[in-house]
């Protein structure tokens, strides 16, 4: 035993710190939970109910990771983050994975010390206005006041869009989504802009949702996806394949209801995914039943989508481009092989 370890152990006792090594997977296993950064309340994506239970599409991803790594989809500690602090929190190690409707961009991927692992929702930025403005298209918005969030790609996109169209605008940027909605509702702005999924989610919170309309223009590509810290490839792989497993499960028709039955399937793809054949789980540093746990405890991508943002939820979002590639969408996961 080295002095360094001893001293660290002593310090751990004296200052009640937790000791951990550099690999996130080991940290997570030692802590018995995944620290997951989510939004401060965006219905459908990550939202706490009045008991403090989190639900939503982004939340489901974290639960799936917990199911894959720890075998328990509830072993997640959710940290609500504002758009402003999310990257710093991930960089510093405050959270293990950021699943907070975050757009995958080159700058973020390359210079912020982040690693995006895929896309769990293909989105685009849109505009919402009051119906009584009589505006039918975003090109009529010259001179408008625009409410948005600080520290988001929307803030930049709206600047690009208005400049490209040669239109004037004033931007009012708030830190919390709730404050943006409140200010828009109070008439501070003519336009509320964010990702279209966000518009659908926030519209539910407005005093009179029917008095507002979402304009047809989509002004940007917003591939929203989870991110992990740069430099820990194993952890990045686990996150990436958790997402792929959820999508592949839908493609293969495995649901949380029939997963036990499917375990006896003869289809080699299903067998590889559910760990009855091959060593995908072990290669990731996980158990063979990693994907089984994901599907059993959280469900496949389609199930999660329908339960959180789909047509039967208050958000009423159609699958659209988020359908599987076999069904006209662009969801196309790398095969488990």
């Amino acid at each position: 035993m080295k002095f360094k370890t001893l001293l660290a152990a002593g310090a751990a006792i004296a200052f009640s710190t937790t000791m951990a090594s550099a690999a996130t997977l080991d940290d997570v296993k030692a802590a018995g939970k995944i620290k997951c950064g989510v939004s401060q309340g965006l219905p459908g994506f990550s939202n706490p109910d009045d008991e403090g239970n989190w639900s939503g599409l982004d939340v489901a991803f974290c639960r799936a990771m917990a199911a894959a790594v720890l075998g328990d989809s509830n072993a997640v500690e959710f940290t609500p983050l504002s758009a402003k602090v999310r990257f710093t929190a991930l960089q510093s190690g405050e959270i293990d994975v950021l699943s907070r409707n975050t757009t995958w961009t080159a700058t973020r991927d390359n210079s912020l010390g982040l690693e995006f692992v895929g896309v769990n929702y293909y989105d685009g930025q849109g505009f919402m206005v009051r119906k009584d403005l009589g505006v039918k298209s975003a090109t009529e918005l010259s001179g408008a006041a625009v409410c948005t969030n600080t520290g988001t790609t929307t803030e930049l996109n709206v600047a690009d869009y208005f400049r490209a169209q040669g239109m004037d605008y004033t931007v009012v940027a708030f830190e919390k989504a709730d404050e943006v909605v409140a200010a828009y509702d109070a008439g501070r702005c003519d336009v509320y802009t964010t990702d279209r999924s966000g518009l659908a989610a926030q519209r539910v919170k407005l005093a009179d949702p029917e008095a507002h309309v979402v304009l047809p223009e989509i002004i940007s590509k917003e591939p929203l996806g989870p991110a992990v810290r740069h430099g820990d490839n194993q952890w990045g792989d686990i996150a990436r394949w958790t997402l792929n497993a959820m999508i592949n499960a839908e493609e293969l028709g495995i649901t949380s209801a029939n997963v036990d039955e499917m375990k006896g399937s003869d289809n080699p793809s299903i067998k590889r995914l559910l760990g009855t054949e091959g060593s995908v789980g072990a290669d990731l540093g996980l158990g063979a039943d990693w994907a089984y746990n994901i599907v059993k405890q959280v469900g496949n991508y389609g199930e999660v989508y329908d339960a959180t943002v789909g047509p039967n939820t208050p958000l009423k979002l159609d699958r659209g481009v988020n359908a599987l590639w076999t069904q006209g969408g662009i969801l196309y996961a790398a095969p488990v092989r």
Binding site: M1, F3, G41, P48, T79, Q91, S92, G93, V204, A207
Partner: protein
């Protein structure tokens, strides 16, 4: 002789002019004494007439007192008190485990009882209650609220050395008469005697675990290890008792030297003797409860936790910083000045931002501690700097003669401060201290920005609920929050006024 006409009875006093007595006189004097006053009075009455009736109507007469969200949607221009009623539990406890809320209740009752006992001056043993509220209560509430297993760590020889050597060494070098060494010795001896008794009792009963209700007290203490750790303390105890304290310097230095060797070993990464790793005492768990992680803490309870921790921690820290700032040692003085001015100069939200999301960047990889704890440390350091300035004001107000008098009695620095200066200085600045507490209490709302759900955060989270999207809900929530804060802060400020009056011994106008 004409009859002299002398009134030999005193004429009864004439009544004062009608315009100076009764309601009319009072109004003339207090409201209409000059044209300017008349104008101001009229304007004020107009202002009140403009503001008060709509306020009363919004708050009370037309407010929604029963029914659900629909009742509030139907009446958007009045307060929606049913919302507060429906979410009251969340406002108080946040997301704290439902079945465990009795723990919070107990601590709240204890808190209010303690404060009541402290405020009422005739309570017997006020001093001890005060000591408990300042030291015991915070520790107890941390244990109660967090739950989990509480007890001693697994004590190895190495832990004893690393933690105790420098402390005891410095204590030996610093205290000239070491008045408390004896107390320490007695307490430690008592502790070990108790442990041995417990062990012997358990062994006699043939048990390795002891349960009290749902609480398990189990002891795995080994007799030989108790004796090993007991030896140095018995030695210390004996030294104090026999008055052999001239050697304390040598002992202290020896202890620091051993510590320094260990630290050097750490830097050069030398292998440590394996005996250091030997476990002396296994972990002793005293209390065991369901753990409620701090992430689930919220609402008014969290507000109180942050405020009280800040208050309890900032006072001693502030006193130390103030003393440091007035120290004769230039290096210490400069360090304290820089520290105080830094914390006073930066906004609390940047401090909280650093503490909440950036801290792991500054620490060695893998080391981290609880997010709430970090926010607490930030808040405590921040208010300690303010407290230091308040205390410094008190120190400066003490006449020089008091310092010189203490010196001439041959008191050491710490004796002088503890017995002469600080009691006087702190008494003068009690109002300032309470004002700092009030500021700290209000500042707790800023933790909302770093994602902790304090009272304001809990209210905001409830407001965002689409089921309660009535217009008046947000205003009602904010008014409720404002009222709660106002009651607490106003109470504190009135108490500080009262103390100010009580301690004010000069002449009043």
């Amino acid at each position: 002789m004409s009859k002299a006409y002398v009134n030999d009875e005193r004429h009864p006093d004439l009544p004062p002019p009608a315009s100076t007595v009764g309601a009319v006189g009072w109004m003339r004097e207090h409201l209409f004494s000059s044209p300017a006053n008349i104008l101001m009075t009229v304007v004020s009455i107009g202002l009140l007439a403009y503001v008060v009736p709509p306020m009363v109507s919004w708050l009370f007469t037309s407010a929604v007192w029963s029914g659900g969200a629909d009742a509030c949607r139907a009446n958007p221009d009045a307060a929606c008190w049913t919302f507060v009623g429906a979410r009251f539990d969340q406002f108080v406890y946040g997301f704290y485990e439902k079945t465990e809320r009795w723990r919070v209740d107990i601590m709240l009752i204890l808190l209010f009882a303690g404060i009541a006992a402290l405020v009422y001056e005739k309570t017997p043993g006020r001093k001890w209650i005060g000591m408990f509220m300042l030291i015991g209560y915070p520790i107890l509430s941390w244990i109660m609220l967090l739950g989990g297993d509480w007890g001693t760590p697994n004590i190895s020889l190495y832990n004893v050395i690393v933690v105790l050597l420098p402390i005891v060494g410095i204590a030996l070098l610093s205290y000239d008469r070491l008045p408390s060494a004896r107390t320490i010795g007695i307490v430690l001896t008592a502790f070990y005697l108790l442990a041995i008794a417990l062990l012997l009792g358990l062994t006699a009963a043939g048990k390795t675990e002891l349960w009290i209700g749902s609480t398990v007290i189990y002891s795995l203490v080994r007799l030989d290890t108790i004796i090993i750790t007991l030896i140095p303390f018995l030695g210390l105890f004996a030294l104090t008792k026999s008055g052999e304290m001239e050697r304390r310097g040598t002992i202290g230095i020896a202890m620091l030297v051993v510590f320094a060797i260990l630290v050097l070993g750490f830097f050069f990464d030398l292998p440590a003797p394996s005996s250091l790793d030997m476990t002396l005492v296994d972990r002793v768990v005293v209390v065991s409860m369901v753990e409620v992680p701090t992430k689930q803490w919220g609402g008014f309870m969290l507000t109180l936790v942050i405020a009280l921790t800040g208050i309890v921690a900032s006072l001693p820290l502030g006193v130390l910083l103030a003393l440091g700032r007035r120290s004769n040692m230039p290096a210490i003085r400069v360090l304290c000045v820089v520290f105080i001015e830094f914390w006073r100069g930066v906004p609390l939200i940047t401090v909280l931002f650093m503490a909440s999301v950036m801290l792991p960047l500054f620490l060695p990889p893998g080391v981290s501690f609880d997010q709430l704890l970090r926010a607490l440390i930030g808040v405590a350091l921040f208010s300690a700097a303010y407290m230091a300035e308040v205390v410094r004001g008190g120190l400066q107000a003490i006449p020089k003669g008091q310092y010189e008098g203490a010196d001439s009695l041959g008191l050491t620095y710490w004796q002088k401060m503890r017995l002469i200066i600080l009691p006087q200085a702190l008494k003068i600045v009690i109002p300032g201290i309470v004002n700092t507490f009030i500021g700290l209490f209000k500042d707790t709302t800023l933790v909302l920005i770093i994602g902790l759900f304090d009272l304001l955060g809990a209210v905001q989270a409830s407001i965002a609920d689409p089921n309660w999207n009535a217009k008046s809900v947000a205003y009602t929530g904010y008014v409720f929050t404002a009222f709660v804060f106002w009651v607490c802060c106003y109470g504190m400020s009135q108490y500080s006024r009262y103390l100010e009056r009580k301690l004010h011994t000069g002449h009043k106008r």
